[in-house]
């Protein structure tokens, strides 16, 4: 038995802690797809998934925030009902929403990089200046929109203008609301970053 035990390579405590938070945030991302907040001025229901993308970058940083969204995508691809409206499957990843989903991953990494300016040393989002916060979130949203709409137009074989009309414009009010909400959360400073 002794030789067997010696060969066990434990994952170190810090990594386990970050990994567990990344996995739970990925599950929260899945739960958020079931929450839609109706907006009086918008025709489409708005889920809170992009909000969780922002929180991933803010509270886990670029590396583990990105890993968290990566876990969410992988779990959805192999059948966890975590994509919008409880969908699952590889097909959702490569279908018309594929660009958005890739955008979620890169968006979390981008927010993490812009806010923390380091791969692993995280600062408290509550102490980030408002312009940096707003700039990071808007940049991530633009990235998500750009990837989303280009892939949508390609896969659906529609004109870019039509894609923007279908896949961006209806969501703008809700996405602005989520940026404001994220800033409100960050500034309250009640969640400890790792």
């Amino acid at each position: 038995m002794a030789t067997e035990r010696n060969s066990v390579e434990l994952v170190d405590a810090d990594t386990v802690g970050l990994f567990a938070r990344a996995a739970l945030l990925a599950a929260l991302m899945g739960a958020a797809s079931y929450v839609s907040i109706p907006l009086p001025f918008s025709p489409v229901p708005v889920t809170l998934q992009v909000l969780v993308v922002y929180l991933a970058g803010l509270y886990l940083g670029p590396l583990w925030g990105g890993a968290s969204i990566g876990l969410f995508l992988a779990a959805g691809a192999v059948g966890a009902p975590v994509f919008a409206e409880g969908k699952a499957g590889v097909g959702v990843l490569v279908g018309y929403t594929g660009g958005y989903l890739l955008g979620y991953l890169l968006g979390a990494v981008l927010v993490g990089l812009l806010v923390h300016r380091s791969l692993d040393r995280l600062r408290d989002p509550a102490e980030t200046s408002l312009p940096v916060l707003v700039g990071s979130l808007v940049a991530a949203l633009v990235l998500i929109y750009a990837l989303g709409v280009v892939w949508f137009a390609h896969v659906q074989q529609v004109e870019l203008a039509a894609a923007i009309g279908v896949a961006i414009v209806p969501f703008i009010p809700g996405d602005i609301l989520k940026i404001v909400t994220t800033i409100a959360i960050a500034k309250r400073g009640v969640i400890d970053p790792v």
Binding site: V8, L10, R21, A23, L24, V35, G89, E159, L177
Partner: protein, 234 residues
């Protein structure tokens, strides 16, 4: 909702790696061309996939019903023009074919979802993605499956509590930020407890991997996957 269900179908008996390979091959083939002939062939493959996993077409369509709306809108939007003749049906043909191929891709993944338990998916990931990344990815995927119902219940109780205390008179930002703060802090509290439990159970980089073995049944499936993947070159 379409999720894994225990059964004895052909698809259930396949190695998860073969099933993932077929989906990838199928996506490559379907994204490469949308000629009616190609789509006819792909329809046949999708039908076989659904049959093999015993998923009825109606059920698969219902699972992706919200996607169907978007798939229907895309050709309609393309047919609309900003001047006379206002509607140009010819412009809708290509987007309609494109929508159809996306639908086929979704249907094929429905077969995987019904026929593959988490344990198999985790094994496929850990045996395909090398090293530490594969270990964390496989375990992490299993954790997402495990904690999704727990966090859904959290979100539900938080929403009820917020609705009871704040009613509907507060704005959406106030309600969404409460939900965000409480949802994330509960998730992190659970994560911190999970982290202790993982360490207590010797969470390691080099565990015994779940057993997986290709059988004779997998050979034609892998051949199909390869054929689909190279079909754009033909």
């Amino acid at each position: 909702m379409l999720t894994y269900e225990p059964d004895e179908t052909v698809a259930h008996r396949l190695d998860p790696r073969s099933k993932l390979a077929v989906q990838m091959g199928f996506a490559v083939a379907a994204l490469a061309r949308i000629s009616p002939r190609a789509l006819l062939a792909l329809s046949a493959v999708a039908a076989v996939a659904l049959l093999a996993a015993r998923v009825s077409l109606a059920r698969a369509l219902y699972a992706y019903r919200f996607a169907l709306v978007v798939l229907a809108i895309a050709p309609v939007v393309s047919a609309v023009t900003l001047g006379s003749p206002w509607i140009d049906p010819a412009a809708a043909v290509t987007p309609a074919l494109a929508s159809y191929r996306v639908l086929l891709i979704l249907l094929v993944s429905a077969a995987y979802v019904r026929s593959t338990p988490v344990r198999d998916s985790r094994a496929a990931i850990q045996r395909t993605v090398p090293g530490k990344a594969g270990q964390l990815l496989g375990t992490g995927v299993a954790l997402v499956f495990r904690f999704l119902p727990v966090l859904l219940a959290d979100v539900r109780t938080i929403r009820e509590a917020v609705a009871a205390r704040l009613g509907d008179e507060r704005g959406p930002v106030e309600r969404a930020s409460r939900l965000g703060v409480l949802g994330l802090s509960r998730a992190f509290a659970r994560a911190d407890r999970l982290s202790l439990a993982l360490q207590a159970r010797c969470f390691s980089w080099n565990p015994t991997l779940p057993a997986l073995a290709f059988s004779r049944l997998d050979a034609p499936v892998l051949a199909l996957a390869a054929g689909l993947a190279v079909s754009p070159l033909l």
